[in-house]
Subunit: 327 residues, 2 copies
């Protein structure tokens, strides 16, 4: 695209279930303008799309630019996308299905638009600017309500024929295990997600074994968040630490499976759980993974905490737009 | 490499534990010359290397060419390689370690040489010319004594920083399972390889439950080969069929793990076991895999039998040389 050569500004937008964040970057990916807005997913796809367009416009304005000066826009979506067609196949939290998002945004700004999965965007951000910088194969894992995954191989986001892949949360770790939200049983998510940890901690609290948790939030699952878990461990709730470590060990065996298949040199762990207790969590995962791989693979990878926090996604979106429209 | 442009001939050599096969191809990959020779691995790396060079020379002669007309040579090795440096890191069956093979062969013919893993070569061959032609992501699985795997993504053989990857035989499928040759426990190989099947069949024969096997080869593990298994099933040894189907189902769950991580569109199954009973084996793997993936992934992949047999490896070697030295 020869028309792109004279332009140096890239825009990322990370769409989440509760908020969206748009940032405008210069050619060196220094942020020039930034705008946050609530998603309000319940108002429907049209409303959310309009809010996204306003957010992009505000960020571009804050950067003191006009849309014409933007070389490309990358948008990260919480769900599978068809990158080639720029269609959001599904976004469960937003009740979206087959939304031609790239076309909608392009018709508004008349600039190139690329749509990608938000986890892929986060991993790409960490690969370009963060904890997995310059890795040949970077695997990102984000334990939360579920467990998201993404992989950058040789500078490319690995994806399936139509959609994103790296559904590490759904690899089987326990035959006839607990029911997963996807309909299968014994998926990694059922034992190692933040939600699985919270449920196990709630049981322990109910039994009187996690006094700090009981005192601060009780047994309400939705309130047993990552920060609560970290505080409880610091306050001496031993059983909470044991529960978190078990989940991290199980995640470590899933990391080992990924190592056997893909041989990533860097595995980046991110999300609230990791941010709340980076050392305990990352070290436990790393040590379990090293034990579970073939001896010759033990020194081929490192496990690290993500560095960029919320910026990983929006940076990854903008950088992926750069990669897509500069090649 | 501009010097390559006028040359159209590519040579592949597939080095196995017992025999080697070299083939010379024209630009359309029509075979022009071919030579087989026994490997005689026990005579040491120097001897084997010399036999490889003689085999290459013979094949080139049979094609009525001179080495100068060869654009590139690709060599497949039963073990991990450092592709970038052209070094065979290890070939257990040949007692090789850190053999600078590309350099040795290059010094003999003064032509570009690329070294790759033999399973990778087989998958690449099936991707270019066989059962996985034009797949975006082709995953190859070859159950034998162990279970080899390889993956071609977007035209590239996926590999780790230093070596080949896709060690699907060593992903964990049974916590505290049987001891694997790699030192871990419960690897896929321990329950689903041809060797695992043979051991289970030998037990059944010993107990009197596999009369055809008992009559033809007895309980000697080394003699219970894929063809014997197929014959026993055809002759009515029901328990042999049950054992093979169980192994295939377990392999199917490992396929599901690969689908969740990599979303391959084609999974190619090859090797002696598959060739001896393609329908029974492929259908059982496919059906188990479809059941073990998330519903939305069930129609994203197909499981097929390899098409090229022994030619897959040598074709893949030559075609990888073409890809490497034409890019």
């Amino acid at each position: 695209m020869s028309t792109v050569e004279n332009m140096k500004y890239w825009v990322g937008l990370d769409l989440g279930g509760t908020k969206m964040l748009a940032t405008v970057y210069d050619a060196e990916f220094k942020p020039l303008g930034r705008k946050r807005r609530r998603t309000k997913g319940s108002e429907g796809a049209d409303s959310v799309t309009n809010r996204m367009i306003r957010t992009l416009r505000d960020a571009i304005e804050e950067a003191k630019l006009t849309p014409e000066q933007v070389a490309g826009i990358g948008i990260g979506i919480p769900g599978p996308v068809d990158q080639a067609k720029g269609i959001v196949l599904e976004a469960v939290n937003l009740s979206w299905e087959n939304v031609p998002l790239a076309k909608l945004v392009r018709s508004e700004f008349d600039r190139p638009v690329v749509v990608l999965n938000d986890v892929d965007a986060g991993v790409y951000g960490e690969y370009r600017f963060g904890a997995a910088k310059s890795a040949r194969t970077a695997l990102g894992i984000f334990p939360g309500t579920g467990i998201g995954g993404g992989c950058v191989y040789d500078g490319q986001i690995i994806r399936g024929k139509r959609n994103s892949c790296m559904e590490i949360g759904h690899i089987s770790i326990m035959p006839d295990g607990q029911l997963c939200g996807c309909g299968l049983r014994g998926c990694l998510e059922t034992e190692a997600s933040r939600l699985a940890i919270s449920a196990e901690v709630a049981k322990a609290a109910y039994r009187g074994e996690a006094p700090h948790v009981m005192k601060t939030v009780g047994t309400t699952l939705a309130d047993i968040r990552s920060s609560v878990l970290a505080e409880a461990i610091a306050a001496g709730d031993k059983v909470v630490e044991q529960i978190v470590r078990r989940a991290a060990r199980i995640l470590g065996t899933a990391v080992a499976t990924s190592v056997h298949l893909l041989c990533p040199d860097v595995i980046v762990l991110g999300g609230g759980l990791v941010e709340a207790m980076p050392e305990l969590y990352v070290e436990t995962v790393a040590s379990a993974a090293k034990k579970a791989v073939m001896p010759s693979f033990a020194d081929t990878f490192k496990v690290v905490a993500a560095k960029l926090g919320d910026d990983a996604g929006v940076l990854g979106c903008a950088a992926w737009a750069e990669k897509t429209f500069s090649d």
